[in-house]
Amino acid sequence: MKDTIMPILFFALFFLLITEQQMYAQNSPLKLGKIDMDILKMEHYPEDTSEGAVILSDFGFSQLKYYEQDGFKLEFQRHVRIKILKKKGYEWADIQIPLYKSQSKEERIITLKGYTYNLVGGKVEKYKISKKDVMTEERNQYWNIDKFTMPNVKEGSVIEYQYTIQSEFFFNLNDWQFQYTIPVQRTEYWVKIPEYLIYNKNMRGYVPLTVNDQTTELSSITYANRQRVSTVYETHTTFEYENIDYHTYVYHYVAENLPAIQEEPYMPDIDNYFPKMEFELSFVQFPNSTRKDYTKTWDGINDLLLLSSDFGNQLNRKNYANEMLGEVQAITDPLERTIAIYEFVKKRMKWNGVRSIFVTSSLRDAFQEGSGSSGDLNIMLTALLRAADLDAKPVLVSTRDHGFILPTRPSISQFNYVICLVNVDGKNYLLDATDPFCPVNLLPSRCLNYKGRVIDPDGGDWVSLTPKTSDKKIISISLEIDEEGSMTGNISINRYGYAAYNFRKKIKKEGSQEDYVNRLESDYPGLHVSSFGFENLDNLYSLVKTEYDITIEDNAEVMGDLIYFSPIFFNRIDDNPFKLEEREYPVDFIYPSETTISFTFNIPEGYAVETLPESTAFKLPENGGLFMYNISQLGNTISIASKIKLRQTWFNKEAYPHLKEFMSLVVAKHAEQIVLKKKP
């Protein structure tokens, strides 16, 4: 009897597992190990001029898989096939897969197979790799990197690999990147998740999807409960089956013939332009257990953060700085009090480079340590401002390299950074304590990214991060020209806003004021600075003033009875940064800028002006920017006022030709010369 029953039972179990597997499995459109001759023969990718390699097919499939022993696990399977066209495409044959770990759990690659195909003398040669070829690097506490290299890669090779990652971190459902720095012929992603886990989806960037489906299937899992039954004669195992039916959400995306994404000058971070489907865990609720919420509304996020021990709770911690708080009590003006506390935190605390919205361990520890993440520093700042009766709130930010935020998709993971908002007498001020050179209301450029989310017990809100301050310089130059063409006089420069900020950083980088002046002299050969003075380098709340007494030896040329020179030799725009005829991605100057230069030249006795450049002015459409150039002569004095103002910071593809032409006109005008002639 035993001999006949057991196989049947085993068969039944096998059958059940098989049906379950098939119900779940979503197959790559290509069969691993089978390759088309045409693709091996292909020498150029017709859609593109040869970027080194092309992704022929990128297939991904994420599912939550049930294991009898361990319950649900997240599994991500990927099958990639790449054609290597040129040597520079070889890097696509070195594969690195980051795997997350935390405490005792870690993501693992459970299967891996791959091939390189070469066409040798009309025949296909095939080389295999498998899981044993993977090397694991333990990068740090949180990440392992699994690496492998495809063998025998040559120009013309096709490589493919397929792997499966198993993960217990439900929040780590694989995002899907559609486009890369090489073209993609076809990309497809499937996600199948039981109704017990709800994810928010974010589509970042734009990609034309040929399939964008969302459906539901009915699924079931079968528990097989083992029971050992002992009778007088024998012991055997019986199984009891229990079925659970549930819905599975199925997401399916396909895109085809996507061009490569390439970097261009003045481009916001390239990562923002890789179109991606992102998944964020919203809540988990298994049958017969309580629902665990992650995030889902902005209000929910607001409340969650306010209750969180490494965020909201910390906003009341202040005892570590009681001494300072006692001292600032005497400052009655709330804005002055804000500045005092802000400067105190910047002086006391050093940013460790880590971008985070949370406090690492506790504010007291961070304070003792004197260093911390953006979360430590700015939550401390917010807490101390609140302790000093100021209306301060934390603001979540996504830094420029972290991507644009989507206000329509509530999620915490859109943010990677926190700053502070203070309202004084109805006016908002933004503060970031990570950068010692920032005065109140001037943010480092990494923060200038669209909008921030204010976290507030009275309800969260958005705050614009568009800079209010510009990069502003006012330069006055007054020079005496002698008959040898040498010029003597002085330059004074006032820098405001980002110009002052950048200048302070530059001096710091050079080491000293002397070093900076030395650098200036080598940047403008012929310029000699006989004396100089800098004001307010340390006072962040004032403009930076610099004065130089100078001689310039070789700006003016003397030839016979003519002297000619370029009046704009300092801060001159002598090169148009925009050279490409057209551009795919926007130009981003980050903050507005304004440079005004006024010159007076006293020409030598016995000389008269032969020709002067003409005055002119032109504008960018929609008042995006303007250039003015006014020149006049009174007796022996020539005066010029030149002003370039870029009010608009963001120029899209359509506006690019105007910007390019604008800059090219500025370059031409700045190159024009003044000619003097000796009087007879």
């Binding site: 690097e137 290299t149 050969p525 002119t616 006109l665």
Partner: protein, 645 residues
């Protein structure tokens, strides 16, 4: 000066309370603070040889950081692998007054993989970064590194970099009396002191009160200026392999032993090679063909694994997988040559386009790369095996012109890789510019880059046209231009060259003022910046590259413009090089020639003003403009109408 110091001391004692003055950065003498971002108050390094396969290095250091630029010296970092393991560690951070802020032990260190850019490596690091905002502050570290081989003897450099001064630094090597320990001293102020203790000999170097060295433009490497001691082992064992470093020959045989029996190839590869060899008329031809065969079958993948990163992967494995690191690919190349009965040498080199040369007379570990040399009767052929594009026999500035160790069964020895003369490193340009009567023009520019100037564009040659176009826009120093057409031609000769042909539209090239146009003569090879002026130059001037640039530019004028003024020819001769610019013109044609030669050489510091003068002459001459004037009757034009407000 005395008074303020007493006063300061008083404040210090008042402020410090229980602070320890020896850790306070406030008492450092001005001489040590000048040009310094950090001060090594005290550093002691003891390297003790414990047996023939084990050593321990103990370090105690106290460093004061004076400003944010010195923060990097406060970071504690040890890179380790299977042969070097970190031992004990203790650290303390002190504030300005010498009060302890933080105590550190091993748990405070982060342990991560050390990513030097290699794809595969087993190096790891432990590190700690104190983030302190108040200067000065002081760090004190005490730590050990345990070596399970004597291969790795330290190189001691009193000042690890520019802008750090030293109050006191001691380096000791403790070795058994009978161990043949060797050393070489450079720039030391006090020679070694040798003493004995039990059965050990102790070698001690002591340096004190070294002011910080400021980096000067075009200066030598810091390792050539600061007190430095190279040390090297006698015999050593690593993973059971015994070696002797007392001579290059000994080290060479160890390398050879390490790679012994790793040259086997598949039958089909051997038969491929035999065919190539049989079809060639000379060894040089065989070598070139085999080199190209190797290039076509392999690619470079960086690997840092195995015996201290020293053993080459088997040739049969490279044969199978088609990739490897410099060792694997060099060994593979040698195996291929061997199959054709050509003898070649595994050659160790310290690679880099900006590194100091090795101490050729002192055998110790100084290399980071491997190439292959093939001794032929009349000449030696050098092969870089990690590049798929490199011309056969050509070494660029990554490995050229330096001492290397050639490993050979008949005796390994130091050799020197070829240097290219300035006449090999050339950039020869001929351009024709046709100007219209608005001062715009079209240009046809042909430039040939050779030798090390070829290295500058080599990578571009294999890029896509789109990338090449971007590169041209970024690289060419012309204020406004558009590319109409372009092409590149690669000539992989032994001294390689590439020809670049550009068809450009020049926008607003000659700027107008009234009826005059100012035509810049130097189209696209201007020297615009000078090296920084250092008031009192202390260091030698080192010009590392010799080259020749010749630009010949023809300008064809429209009938509406005639020449009003022509700049003088300029000649500058100096020991650093020569410069000559000349202008010839007829009624409608201008020919401008710029000829610059720079010599390689080392010059005393007092020559710096002369060098600046030489460069200043060039900068000025490169700005030269021709003045053109509208002939009577020509009509001026307004270019800005379109956008004028």
């Amino acid at each position: 000066m005395k008074k303020p110091l007493t006063f300061l001391l008083f404040i210090l004692i008042a402020q410090a309370g229980l602070g320890q003055l020896e850790y306070s950065g406030l008492l450092i003498a001005d001489e040590l603070k000048a040009d310094a971002n950090a001060v090594i108050l005290s550093k002691e390094v003891d390297f003790k040889v414990r047996s023939d396969k084990s050593a321990i290095k103990r370090t105690k250091e106290i460093i004061t950081i004076l400003n944010p630029k010195g923060d990097k010296f406060a970071t504690f970092l040890i890179v380790y692998d299977n042969f070097r393991k970190p031992g004990c560690f203790r650290g303390t951070i002190y504030d300005s007054w010498g009060n302890r802020i933080k105590k550190l032990d091993k748990d405070d260190l982060k342990d991560e993989s050390y990513n030097s850019g290699s794809l595969y490596e087993d190096n790891r690091m432990i590190y700690y970064e104190p983030l302190i905002t108040k200067y000065p502050y002081t760090v004190s570290y005490e730590y050990e590194v345990v070596y399970n081989s004597l291969l790795f003897f330290p190189i001691w450099q009193a000042q690890p970099s520019y802008n750090i001064s030293v109050k006191k630094s001691v380096f000791k090597v403790i070795a058994p009396e009978d161990y043949s320990f060797r050393y070489k001293e450079l720039n030391v102020n006090e020679p070694v002191q040798i003493s004995s203790s039990k059965s050990d000999k102790i070698y001690t170097w002591y340096e004190h009160d070294l002011p910080a060295i400021k980096k000067e433009p075009l200066g030598p490497y810091i390792s050539e200026i600061t007190p430095t001691v190279y040390t090297g082992p006698g015999t050593f064992i690593i993973s059971g392999m015994k070696g002797n470093m007392e001579s290059w020959e000994g080290f060479g045989s160890w390398i050879q032993q390490l790679n012994e029996g790793r040259t086997g190839l598949s039958e089909s590869t051997i038969s491929d090679i035999r065919k190539i060899a049989d079809g060639s008329t000379s060894p040089a031809e065989s070598i070139k063909k085999i080199y190209e065969y190797m290039q076509s079958r392999t690619r470079y993948v960086s690997v840092q694994l195995g015996i201290g990163g020293w053993q080459a992967e088997k040739a049969s494995v490279v044969d199978e997988v088609g990739y490897g690191d410099c060792k694997a690919l060099s060994n593979y190349m040698m195996s291929l040559l061997k199959a054709a009965n050509i003898r070649s040498c595994y050659t160790l080199v310290k690679a880099g386009d900006d590194v100091s040369d090795i101490q050729a007379d002192f055998p110790c570990l100084q290399f980071n790369h491997v190439i292959v040399s093939v001794p032929l009767q009349e000449d030696t052929i050098w092969l870089e095996c990690t590049s798929q594009d490199n011309p056969c026999g050509y070494l660029g500035d990554f490995t050229g012109d330096r001492y290397v160790l050639t490993v050979d069964m008949d005796g390994s020895k130091i050799a020197r890789t070829p240097a290219l003369s300035k006449h090999d490193n050339t950039q020869i340009r001929i351009a024709e510019v046709e100007l219209n009567d608005l001062g715009e023009g079209v240009a046809k520019v042909t430039t040939e880059y050779s030798g090390w100037q070829y290295d500058h564009i080599q990578n571009i040659l294999s890029e896509s046209r789109e990338e090449q176009k971007k590169w041209i826009y970024g690289d060419k120093d012309i204020p406004g231009f558009e590319i109409k057409n372009f092409s590149f031609e690669d000539n992989k000769a032994q001294i390689p060259s590439a020809k670049e042909t550009l068809n450009l539209a020049l926008i607003n090239y000659a700027s107008r003022s009234g009826k005059r146009y100012f035509l810049p003569l130097n189209l696209m090879n201007k020297l615009e910046r000078l090296p920084k002026n250092t008031k009192e130059r202390k260091q030698d001037i080192v010009l590392r590259y010799a080259f020749v640039d010749i630009d010949t530019i023809y300008y064809y004028l429209p009938p509406s413009l005639e020449i009003e003024y022509q700049p003088e020819d300029v000649t500058a001769n100096s020991e650093f090089g020569t410069y000559h610019s000349s202008v010839n013109s007829s009624e409608d044609t201008i020919r401008y020639i710029r000829h610059l030669e720079i010599n390689k050489g080392r010059y005393t510091p007092d020559k710096y003003p002369q060098l600046l003068e030489f460069y200043t002459t060039i900068v000025k001459a490169d700005k030269a403009k021709m003045v053109l004037i509208e002939s009577d009757g020509a009509i001026g034009t307004e270019g800005l109408e379109g956008l004028r407000d």
